[in-house]
């Protein structure tokens, strides 16, 4: 996965480098990051499955306004679903309420099932919207955007260093792993495996610290003065403002309707 961070590639557009940005990609990254955050907060606040599903459709619609490969995006979403599936399946059986059907002597409740579906739909809506709104945004561009959104400079610099060295250290890991393989190492369920992996990771830490020392010296050598210039030109245009307002109204209406629906019950 770390290849995503290699050579500062934006997510999902490795093949189509140099082409014009997609519709979503043409907006100011600051607006995109802010709307993705707003969407996440608002969707989590939804209580009704119907409206959560509406939010999910909204997110799915947004995917088609990006140049994200649809299959890869859905695969990534399915990977996330794999994390929560156990919890969602258990939920109907552990939530008290009207029994609906029983399996192996355990009663599944209607409330529990609705809750599980709601959680699943909300989680997928947020992930899909985030992946599509931030599509085409490279990790470095994200760092610059967060800096412009007044995140602490130290945190942004830390993130940029992390992004820069993930691919380098992943390569280093593969080199060490290759050396182990050449000496006949195979990962099994043995104490030897765990000890070897431990040595491998310890060595990775030692090497990365030595690398950091060299990096700091190289930075000092080039007259590092305590801050990094942010070399990008972000322009906030009228259409960015329109996107922000339009998106805010839409998601606000969704939450409002969701709450009114509760009273109408």
């Amino acid at each position: 996965m770390s290849h995503l961070f290699g050579h500062d590639q934006p997510l999902g557009v490795q093949a189509s480098g140099g082409t014009a940005p997609s519709f979503v990609g043409s907006f100011d990254p600051r607006v995109r990051v802010a709307t993705a955050g707003l969407f996440a907060v608002m969707v989590v606040a939804l209580h009704q499955v119907e409206f959560a599903f509406g939010a999910f459709l909204l997110a799915l619609g947004t995917v088609f306004l990006t140049d994200l490969p649809l299959r890869l995006t859905l695969k990534r979403m399915a990977a996330m679903d794999g994390f929560i599936i156990v919890m969602l399946v258990m939920l109907p059986f552990t939530t008290p309420g009207t029994p609906m059907f029983s399996l192996l002597g355990a009663d599944a409740s209607k409330e529990g099932l609705m809750h599980a579906v709601l959680i699943g739909v909300r989680a997928n809506a947020v992930v899909l919207m985030m992946l599509s709104l931030l599509s085409g945004l490279s990790p470095v561009a994200l760092g610059h955007t967060l800096y412009r959104l007044k995140c602490p400079a130290a945190l942004v610099h830390l993130m940029m260093f992390t992004v820069r060295y993930i691919s380098v250290l992943h390569d280093e890991y593969h080199r060490l792993r290759m050396a182990m393989k050449l000496r006949g190492f195979r990962a099994r369920n043995t104490f030897h495996t765990y000890r070897s992996i431990g040595y491998l990771f310890g060595m990775l830490l030692v090497r990365s610290l030595e690398r950091a020392e060299r990096v700091l010296e190289a930075m000092k050598c080039r007259g590092f003065s305590g801050h990094f210039p942010m070399i990008d030109h972000l322009e906030f245009k009228v259409r960015d403002g329109m996107l922000a307002v339009g998106f805010g109204v839409m998601i606000g209406a969704l939450v409002l309707l969701d709450r009114m629906y509760v009273f109408a019950y």
Partner: protein
Amino acid sequence: MHIVDGALAPEVLIGGGVLAVAGLGLGLRKLPIDKIPATGVLSATFFVASLIHVPVGPSSVHLIMSGLAGLVLGWTAFPALFVGLLLQAVFFGFGGLTVLGVNTVNIALPAVLIGLTFRGLVTRSSPTTAAIWGGIAGASSIAVTTVFVAISLGLSGEGFVAAAKLVFFAHIPIMIIEGLISAAAIYLICKVKPELMRASDSAYDRAYDDAPYPMTTGQTAQVTPATSEANNG
């Protein structure tokens, strides 16, 4: 270990967010500009750890190594692990945006607490004893993390209590394996480069002060002594 968006109660999300911001603030105060390269590279190393899979029975799990992060980085493990989680959430869709605070607290707070508790024991012992302490630190930070995850789930609704218990018991093999791997890693570090354990305070200040010429502007030069005092105290 990742909790996704939409599962937790708003109160838990807000509580986690507030705690995460406080922890980040504390961690960033211990992070002067000339320690950012070392912390960033180590943060990337711990990100790479999450890409390393080790076999467990018929399946495999990825490493977390949060105990080791706490031992090596101290309080700066908080921002370092936060950055890893942010990148995973934004670029891979693992975890989510609104639960970022809760996930950060669940993983980084045990790392920092365990790291601060065991660091003295590890640095003062012989490699073999240090490895045992390191193993205990590695296993217990995962244990505390699963307890935190269970608490965040349990506070969000009764229906989650069973899932919370399952999370804890399902992670017992992972605790054992993380403990073994952390112990081996600490043993190697103690033999090869013991100053790594002190990377987040003394080793870097010394490397910086020994520089024959003042390399930075007055602004950063003022920051460094103040922070090193804070770390020693």
